[in-house]
Structure formats: structure tokens, C-alpha cells
Subunit: 254 residues, 2 copies
Amino acid sequence: MPKPEVDPTVSLDLSVDRSSPVPLYFQLSQQLEAAIEHGALTPGSLLGNEIELAARLGLSRPTVRQAIQSLVDKGLLVRRRGVGTQVVHSQVKRPLELSSLYDDLEAAGQRPATKVLVNTVVPASAEVAAALGVAEGGDVHRVERLRLAHGEPMAYLSNHLPGGLLDLDTAQLEATGLYRLMRAAGITLHSARQSIGARAATAAEAERLTEDEGAPLLTMQRTTFDDTGRAVEFGDHIYRPSRYSFEFQLLVRP
Amino acid sequence: MPKPEVDPTVSLDLSVDRSSPVPLYFQLSQQLEAAIEHGALTPGSLLGNEIELAARLGLSRPTVRQAIQSLVDKGLLVRRRGVGTQVVHSQVKRPLELSSLYDDLEAAGQRPATKVLVNTVVPASAEVAAALGVAEGGDVHRVERLRLAHGEPMAYLSNHLPGGLLDLDTAQLEATGLYRLMRAAGITLHSARQSIGARAATAAEAERLTEDEGAPLLTMQRTTFDDTGRAVEFGDHIYRPSRYSFEFQLLVRP
DNA sequence: TCAATGTGTATGTCCGGACAATCGAACTAC
DNA sequence: GTAGTTCGATTGTCCGGACATACACATTGA
């Protein structure tokens, strides 16, 4: 065994502001996360025991535990009884999130643009009604958009939303993403059920995406739910696989 | 507003066994989850306030909160201040999990089979070394498998594992899935970073999967980490999209 | 009629303490 | 030397309480 596995306990300067409206455990977890991201806490290093940490910060142990637990849930820390809490060895990227294509592209400096092709209200088809949990034939919004990056077509986005949920302005849809509009309308996104597959492009799809007929396409169907569990969006999207792939992280729930 | 939104409070019989080694909060969360799954707690119904629930069970409020919180994390319950805790409206399927193709197929009654094509130890290529966090040129296991369902090829699975982590027996690999073997060896899987894309089949890939050259394929690359954050597996898989698609649920972290 | 205000209720946050379970290492006995 | 034991350290679980905060609803006022 050539590896001694030292993993020394690291001490760093933490502090909380009791006059802030931000919860104490959240302040602490943010500082710890920043320290990990920043490299002050290196992978494998021990965090020091909770009791001493609580005493050093003038906090109670439950508060410190709550902060640590949130980072464990994110996959940044590992706790082991009798050992301590240590930073995971791997360079974890972003944890899984309900990704917004627009925001993803913007964050990557891809200068996204959107061309709204359809923006109307239609009666719900059987498939859409089932996905959204509304009556078949009832009014639903239908939006079809072409998403471009650097002026090149990247994805064709077809979405259906329950009627009366949201005012969908074409100009706004071209200026930002659908999720951002929904959030701005007071809808709290909560979870989504996704299905990702692949198939060959039809002639119509190929033309829209400037691909050849039969070219491989990446497909994604998604139903998004708000915090009350109601379906708020059903999307059927196709992507050019040369321009886009899905990247995400999964956590195991033991 | 035609919807009255009644959502009556539901009361059901819960009980905990204090002599059991199973934690009290876990007993409670399991019973609540079972009640939701079973239909005793219908979507939208209120759970009754925590204080009264704790008193009814002879538990403290923190314990009850811990049980409820775990179900909120799973996306089964929603809490709102001043309102209460209610069951989400949607019919949530399984929450996201580190899916095992073998187990998925078996659960779906697809009678999976595996044909091991390669099972050796090789020096790590640059790509594999980077993904697994080992030295380039160091020993790594290399496994290539063809996964069949109903006798039809479904996926071609190429995996690399750090050397010395596990004994990989070909017979065992053909009898079960890789993840199950790793778990049986005492490895606790924790998280995985995935990338899903699509591309056209090469001639060699097409032959292995009985597809045509140029046919669309679904691709997945995955690095899996154990509970200490060490990479324990790197996979590069291709699937026949007519036979398989990825289904999973994402939760939003606010 | 409609808006502003109050009030009750439920969850959110935080505290201090107690004991149990588990891990690792030092120690002991053979 | 090796196997088993003990022991300290650390997290896991649970308790009872206190105050803060946000939401829904009723009341009040213009």
C-alpha cells in the first residue's frame, strides 16, 4: 500500500451574519460550496467534526448539520460515521437540473436566437391531453420554435401548454426562453419527466434543420410539472446531434 | 373559477415501532410513501399539520419533519407555509435513479441476455485515464458486451474499470448486469455523469447491431462514482433507438 | 364594490441536549 | 506475528421548545 491517504483536516475562515434574512444554514452551505469550488477545500480533505465547527461559528449542531446535509445531497460531501465529513474525490460538475436550452446556450456563450414559427391556441389532441392532464379537445397553447446558435439551426422545439396558464407573446418568446417566461409568470417549476431517443430525420424535419433526409436526430419529449404537481408544459423536441447532446448528473438514492 | 379546490385533510392510521432498529423517521416516511402509492393518500389531499401528526404518533416534530422532508425531496409531497403539506397532483413515476440497463429490461419482462465479446486488462488510453482519474498507461479492465432482448441485439456496451477494483468473471457478466456485480463486491454507487447523443452507425457498429450503415444510433457516455467520489466505471454505449430510449425524471433544486 | 388591514394557522428556522451506532486505531492476549 | 478486544472519535437519531415568516381568510374601511 504505497498510498498513506493522509487527508488532513482543513481549517478555513467561515462566518455567518445573524442580521441577514438569509438562513444561517444556507449561508454556511454556500460558503462551504464556494470553498470547494474555489479549491480551498481539496477533494478528500476532512471537514472537521460538527461539534467543533458549530462552536467555532457560534451555531448549534443541527444548523451545521443542515448545511452539511444539503451539500451531501448535492453530492459534494460524504459523511461517514466515526470518520468524519470529507469532500468527494471527483471533480463534480453541476448537479442535475431542469435544463433550459436557452439558458444553457447563453451560459456557453453561444448567442442563442429563436424564431417563432407557430403561436396559437388549438384543441388538445389525445396525446397532448394525456400528457397535460386536460380534457381532449380543450384549449391548449401550441408553440413551435426554431432555435439557432451562431445563426445555425440547432433544434426544433414543439411545445403545448394548458390554456389560460400564461400569455405567450411572440416577441417575448423570441427574446428569451420558455422556462424563464413561465417563472416570470409566477409558476414554480418542480420536476419533469423526460424521454430521450433518436431517429432518422423526415424530409420536412431535414429541411427545417438544414440536414439531409435520414440523418440521425436526437429527440426529447418532456412533461414539466409545477410545485403543485400539475403539468404545465409538454414539449416534443428534436436536436441536431452534431450541435447538441444532453449532459447531466444522476445521484443514487440509497 | 369553476374549481373549488377542496383538497380535504386525510387521516389514516399510522404507527411506529420503537423497538425496531429502523429509524422512526424512516418508518414514517415509508408508511406515507406506501399510502401515496397505494392510493390512501390521493393527490392534492392535505396531510394535516406536523404538530398534530407528531402528537398522534407520539413523536417529536423534528422527527416527523425529517420523514416528510425525505418525501418532499423525492417529489411526492409539497409543503407550503400557512397552507400545509399535500400530495402532488401528478402521478409521479419512479424518481430518477442510476439506471441499470439489465435491471430495467428484466423489470420490463424483456428477458435480457448478454454476450461478452471482450474481457481483458489493457493499458489505459488517454481518454479512459482522464475519465477514470488513473494514470495513462496503467492497467484497466476492458469489457465489451452485446446486450440482447428477446434474442435481438439492443445495445453494444463498452466499459472500462480501474484495475484491481473487481474480479470480472465472464460467466457472471453474462448472467447479470455490471452494476449488480459492483454492488455485490461492496462498492456503493453514488452518482454518475452522463452524456447522451446520437449519430450515424459505422459499418462495424451496424453489423454488430444488425442495423444498416448510417442508421441513427443513440449514444451514451457515463462515468460512475462511488460514495467516496472515486470513478469506478467509464462506459461508452450505443443503443438501437428503435429498441431503447432513456426515460427519467428530473427534480428542480431551488 | 373593492382595496387595505388584521388574524389564525401552518411551515421555516434555530437552539441545547441526550444517547446510540459505527469506524478506525491502539492495545492485549495467544 | 496475528487475531481479537477495547476505546476514543464522529456522525446518526431523537427530543422539547422557541420565535419568525408566509399564506388564506375574514374583517374593516373608503
